[in-house]
């Protein structure tokens, strides 16, 4: 798909021949994100859809307690320090951003009065600035007014290197923020920024009050009492917090949206495991919501039969990959295995990579392991002319793989393993410990064996596999084996950060202490060029076309084998109405949650 295809489709949306949702789904199918699709439409004159939030209660309160269950317990409530989604979700009870992303890629105002666009003049044509108008009359839980100073403070707080805030990625592109008046801020970027809706938006954009954190910026950030006793603008007010265990909150009577929130109090309970969390919501109905149910679909279906609740799935950009090592992990060069100075003994042969791609039974992995929670995807895009159903885009064929290997000169030896020049294909395949991944490994190993490829499976405990410890050879960036499987998350609405993981300057190596994000060490000049072009392209449609090209470049070389596009799965008790989005936190619209009677 090229720029022209994109333009045609946008025209279809404009003319009403294609629904907005359908367009967004197609963009996701080619590896883009819903927010990006939304931005493309907005840029082409299709405005973000109006607030379609369904909300029936006619007054705030009277909903009783809302009981949320997180099997990974929240440990801190300052969104700038969030260790992971669990902490972001919990912060969302108390703090809010200027705007959030809905499931269809619409930017929905929360603390903003309106969404900037070229039409309303808030968005600069050169991509160098954006102006946000803030909602007036919003109060912090302690009664102080929410103003432009708070917004500016959050930028200063986050970019201070001594604060070491995890949100810095979203804020460091800002050169200065002008305070136009108490309720208007103008963000000036360091360079033309096509994706302007990142700072102060969604999960990393939650705003903390200046008056409580101003004295605790930088090195003293840990000492702020409000780290543990949040004071925000959100629909619920802090009552109690036990890190790693529970949170209690009560309704904010002064909340800035009329008739909201519905529930009188919120109880968050953390800990345990995902299966029993699903049980507590779907089967026994002890809780109203369960977070991130990474549970085999078979079990979920069985628990749903309990009749108390349903599992609900939302599209995300998370992709389960298999990466083939470009370098040789078994030869040490200058004290480093898998050095870019080496070449992998088998994978340099494109036939081997092609055969391997054919040996991954994505359909079965989807059907029997992930079920509703993952959609098989091999190539983001196989056929540029037309879109097909994602299920037709990949192939699983042991015969074809055998044929390809045979033709390429890999003959079976006496023990049934294919070899060439006396080198039998024996691979080590590692992943983190996680029940679905081990089953996935077993399925792949069997297919490989049938094609004469011997595989040794290895699994590494997740806290080691995903650590950034330069001394440990078992981490995924070291990649001291032939193949590995893991999920790259796209917590970001914009794919730019996501796609830099295949640029040549990100190659993980001893030199950068394996902090580089290009794990497979795949390098391609064309890719690097296209990536640079995409990062400065202001026209969202052109930019999207470039990202599609980037996807193709990676995927068609068969070193990176996408397998499953994960869905975010949550459990909701029957009657609960919760607006969900895969591009923002589950609790992004917690103010609008209610229970149908």
């Amino acid at each position: 798909m090229n720029e022209r295809d994109l333009r045609n489709q946008i025209a279809d949306v404009k003319a009403g021949r294609l629904s907005r949702r359908e367009f967004v789904q197609r963009m996701i199918a080619v590896g883009l994100t819903a927010p990006m699709a939304g931005t493309m439409l907005a840029h082409s004159g299709v405005a973000f859809a109006a607030d379609s939030m369904e909300y029936k209660p006619t007054k705030a309160g009277a909903g009783g307690p809302l009981k949320l269950l997180f099997w990974q317990a929240p440990t801190l409530l300052n969104p700038h320090f969030a260790n992971g989604t669990k902490d972001q979700e919990a912060s969302r009870l108390f703090y809010e951003p200027l705007a959030g992303w809905d499931a269809d890629g619409n930017l929905v105002p929360i603390l903003a009065a309106e969404i900037p666009s070229k039409e309303n003049g808030l968005l600069a044509a050169d991509g160098m600035s954006v102006t946000w108008k803030l909602k007036q009359g919003v109060k912090w839980h302690d009664g102080k007014p929410f103003t432009a100073d708070d917004v500016i403070f959050n930028w200063e707080y986050s970019v201070n290197p001594d604060t070491a805030a995890v949100s810095v990625g979203s804020y460091r592109g800002i050169k200065a923020i002008d305070k136009i008046d108490d309720y208007t801020v103008k963000l000036n970027f360091k360079q033309p920024t096509p994706f302007w809706a990142d700072p102060f938006v969604a999960a990393y954009g939650l705003i903390i009050p200046k008056h409580l954190f101003a004295d605790y910026i930088g090195a003293k950030s840990r000492e702020a009492p409000a780290n543990l006793k949040p004071v925000g603008t959100g629909p619920y007010v802090y009552v109690d917090f036990k890190p790693g265990d529970s949170i209690a909150a009560k309704r904010n009577p002064d909340y800035h949206q009329a008739n909201r929130p519905y529930f009188d109090s919120v109880e968050v309970k953390g800990g345990g495991d995902a299966v029993s969390a699903a049980r507590a919501v779907l089967q026994t109905g002890e809780y109203d919501y369960a977070y991130n149910l990474q549970v085999e679909d078979e079990i979920l279906t069985k628990l749903e039969a309990g009749g108390q609740g349903k599992a609900q799935l939302t599209v995300t950009g998370h992709i389960e990959y298999i990466a083939l090592n470009v370098t040789d992990p078994w030869t040490e060069v200058d004290g480093e295995r898998a050095s870019v100075k080496t070449k992998h003994p088998f994978f340099t042969d494109p036939a081997v990579r092609k055969a391997i791609n054919l040996l991954i039974d994505r359909a079965s992995v989807q059907k029997f392991i992930y079920g509703r929670a993952g959609v098989a995807t091999a190539n983001f895009l196989n056929n540029p002319e037309r879109f097909r159903s994602p299920n037709n885009k990949f192939e699983f064929s042991i015969e074809k793989a055998n044929l390809i290997l045979e033709e390429a000169g890999w003959k079976k030896n006496s023990s049934g393993v294919r070899e060439k020049d006396g080198k039998p294909i024996k691979l080590v395949f590692q992943t983190s410990i996680n029940a679905p991944r081990q089953k996935n490994q077993a399925i792949i190993k069997q297919a490989f064996q049938k094609a004469g490829i011997e595989v040794e499976l290895k699994s590494v405990v997740a806290s080691v596999f995903f650590s950034s410890d330069p001394a440990n050879p078992d981490t995924y960036p070291h990649f001291y084996c032939d193949m590995e499987m893991y999920q790259t998350t796209m917590p970001q609405a914009d794919p730019q950060f996501f796609m830099n993981q295949f640029t040549s300057w990100e190659v993980a190596s001893k030199e950068n202490k394996w902090q580089g994000r290009n794990i497979s060490r795949w390098q391609n000049k064309d890719y690097d060029e296209t990536y640079k072009q995409a990062s400065s392209e202001l026209d969202p449609v052109k930019r999207a076309a470039l990202f599609v090209k980037l996807n193709d470049l990676v995927v068609q070389d068969n070193y990176i084998l996408p397998e499953i596009n994960r869905r975010n799965c949550i459990g909701l008790k029957n009657g609960m109405v919760a607006n969900k989005s895969g591009w923002d936190n589950d609790l992004w619209q917690i103010a609008n949650w209610y229970r149908e009677t």
Partner: protein, 319 residues
């Protein structure tokens, strides 16, 4: 005796220092760091992890870090958790009530069940009672707690709906209802843990009693016409208690240390679940604090056991 106690207590100080040093070095060398989740998130630049490493003092040499920890500890500063940035002592104090309640009750239950059952079983070995007690004990320790816990949940929470399986430290009720709710939510974890523990205790008690019950002095006591229950309590049990005391002393520190698996299954906010989540997140200050307190208790109870041996068998001399 007093002299002996004093000497042991003085020796305990360097031995605990040694243990703390080994624990610290071990945790520092153990693979992994607390930034795993940050590392796999493309939105968070590596500089943030680097800044955090420096901020948390993780790049200094191990010995420097150890002495810093030791000096702070002597001043009563336990450090702060990397995961929640809360002071470690606050975190531990939050977890102690639930741990003492659940694990303490379970240990108590185990002893209350195991000692009489073990003694009775040994009094008539291979009787029906002994066979039944043994079979239960075998089931008890051949099934892991992750399994029995789940089994109880399926029966009592899912099928019968009698008991809750999510433990809550903050029960909203007051008065009698509060007690009742607390009792209900503790039934399953206490049973799982207590019976697992009781199973092995029973076997040890039975074996220890069998060791003494046929000794001459017991026969003598009986033939003197002493009441059977008196013989058992005064002559048999007291002499059989040495292994039992050893075992109980071994288990007491876990009343503080919590039970990782059981706490995880029932979501009990105890020390065990704090420890396991700290370990999974490589939250070293928390792991260090919990294991060090645990080590102190181990040393303390070992000492108590040694003193009890002397009381149970006066021939064991104090050195």
């Amino acid at each position: 005796m007093g002299n002996y106690l004093l000497r042991r207590l003085i020796v305990a100080v360097p031995s605990l220092l040694g243990i703390s040093l080994i624990l610290f070095v071990l945790l520092a060398l153990a693979p992994g760091d607390p930034f795993g989740e940050l590392a796999s998130n493309p939105n968070i630049p590596p500089e943030v992890r680097e800044a955090l490493r420096i901020k948390f003092g993780m790049d200094d040499p191990i010995m420097v870090r150890y002495f810093r920890w030791l000096v702070a500890m002597i001043h009563g500063d336990w450090g702060f958790s990397f995961a929640s940035r809360v002071n470690v002592d606050t975190l531990i104090l939050q977890r102690i009530p639930a741990t003492l309640y659940v694990v303490g009750t379970a240990q108590l239950l185990a002893l209350i069940v195991a000692i009489p059952v073990g003694v009775l079983a040994a009094r008539r070995p291979y009787s029906i009672f002994d066979q039944i007690a043994n079979t239960f004990a075998f089931i008890g320790f051949s099934l892991p707690t992750f399994f029995t816990g789940l089994l109880l949940i399926l029966v009592f929470s899912v099928n019968l709906g009698w008991l809750p399986f999510v433990y809550r430290a903050d029960i909203p009720a007051t008065g009698w209802m509060w007690w009742w709710e607390n009792f209900k939510q503790a039934v399953m974890p206490v049973t799982v843990l207590g019976l697992y523990q009781a199973a092995s205790y029973t076997r040890y008690v039975r074996s220890a009693v069998l060791d003494v019950i046929k000794l001459d002095y017991v026969t003598t006591a009986r033939s003197k016409g002493l009441d059977e229950s008196k013989v058992i309590v005064k002559h048999v049990v007291r002499n059989a208690l040495i292994p039992v005391v050893t075992l109980v002393a071994l288990q007491m520190p876990t009343v503080f240390g919590g039970a990782i698996v059981t706490e995880q299954i029932f979501r009990i906010p105890g020390i065990g679940s704090l420890l396991i989540s700290a370990i999974l997140a490589n939250d070293t200050p928390v792991i260090m604090a919990v294991t060090f307190v645990f080590a102190c208790l181990v040393v303390l109870f070992n000492l108590i056991a040694d003193i009890l041996y002397g009381w149970l068998d006066p021939r064991i001399s104090f050195r």
